[in-house]
């Protein structure tokens, strides 16, 4: 049951990325190019997603537990620290270089562009290094 739910929700998330145009790095890079060929589409994607999620979470998180799990797994870290900001800063540089973040990169994987086939394994390697470096 959980596997089918996750497959379908991943599919829905990916369809959202494709429909919104975010599977195309050119749209991301043009969003980030505020001094040049600015394309504000990403604001509508993030805005639409965040507002929908905000409304949905408001109802969902009032329930005692999720349907298929015994509790809600919410982030436990608190406070803005150097690790958070350094990670976000490095992430942003990579995002600005390639125009890909993890969701769109995986969604685009099967389309088989050379750049995507370089980016995704490199992303996995970066994640692995960070996991090993921060594991204790």
């Amino acid at each position: 049951m959980s596997l089918v739910v996750n497959l379908l929700l991943g599919l829905l998330f990916g369809i959202g990325l494709v429909v919104s145009g975010m599977a195309d790095p050119a749209k991301i890079l043009n969003f980030l190019d505020v001094a040049g060929t600015w394309d504000p589409s990403l604001l509508f994607v993030m805005g639409g997603a965040a507002v929908t999620t905000s409304i949905g979470y408001w109802f969902v998180l009032r329930r005692p537990r999720p349907v298929l799990s015994n509790k809600f797994h919410l982030p436990v870290r608190r406070g803005i620290d150097g690790r958070l900001l350094a990670g976000a800063a490095l992430f942003g540089i990579g995002w600005g270089l390639g125009g890909f973040c993890p969701g769109p990169a995986l969604t685009a994987l099967g389309l088989g562009e050379a750049g995507t086939l370089l980016f995704v394994p490199a992303m996995g390697a970066g994640m692995l290094v960070a996991k090993l470096a921060t594991a204790r």
């Binding site: 145009g21 589409s41 929908t52 870290r77």
Partner: protein, 139 residues
């Protein structure tokens, strides 16, 4: 240039939001793609099969859209080897170090009014905009 697509982008964003809400309602989990993907890599902390299923859905998505719409999914991806390898490494390393990416911080975190996610989103937006500015207008 890419065409400004407010309607399609809003619609796509709402679909992403519905997926995030349902993942919380059913599984009790944040729809953060970097968190989902990084847990497929060692050191393992459990929960691999459902996350693998989610990623499978993501990968299948463009083909479902193409079947449904009858039009190909167009994209322009740099094939510069050094740029794409560096981009992937930074995105992977940074998202794990910073506990999230555009989906976990930028969508789910902002929806929860998390101060950490707001700080992370402002930071990665700033460095991404600065990076594109440097490459396109300074170099």
């Amino acid at each position: 240039m890419t065409e400004f697509t407010p309607v399609a982008s809003l619609l796509g964003g709402i679909l992403i939001g519905i997926s995030a809400v349902l993942l919380m309602a059913l599984e009790g989990r944040i729809a953060g793609i970097s968190g989902i993907v990084s847990r497929l890599l060692p050191p393992y902390s459990g929960g691999v099969p459902p996350r693998l299923a989610f990623v499978t859905g993501l990968v299948a998505a463009p083909f479902v859209v193409m079947l449904g719409s009858g039009t190909p999914v167009l994209q322009t991806v740099s094939s510069n080897v050094a740029v794409m390898l560096a981009a992937g490494l930074l995105v992977g390393f940074g998202s794990v170090l910073g506990s999230g990416c555009t989906s976990g911080h930028g969508v789910c975190g902002l929806a929860r009014l998390s101060g950490r996610s707001l700080a992370a989103t402002a930071t990665f937006m700033a460095t991404a905009i600065a990076t594109v500015f440097l490459i396109r207008h300074m170099l």
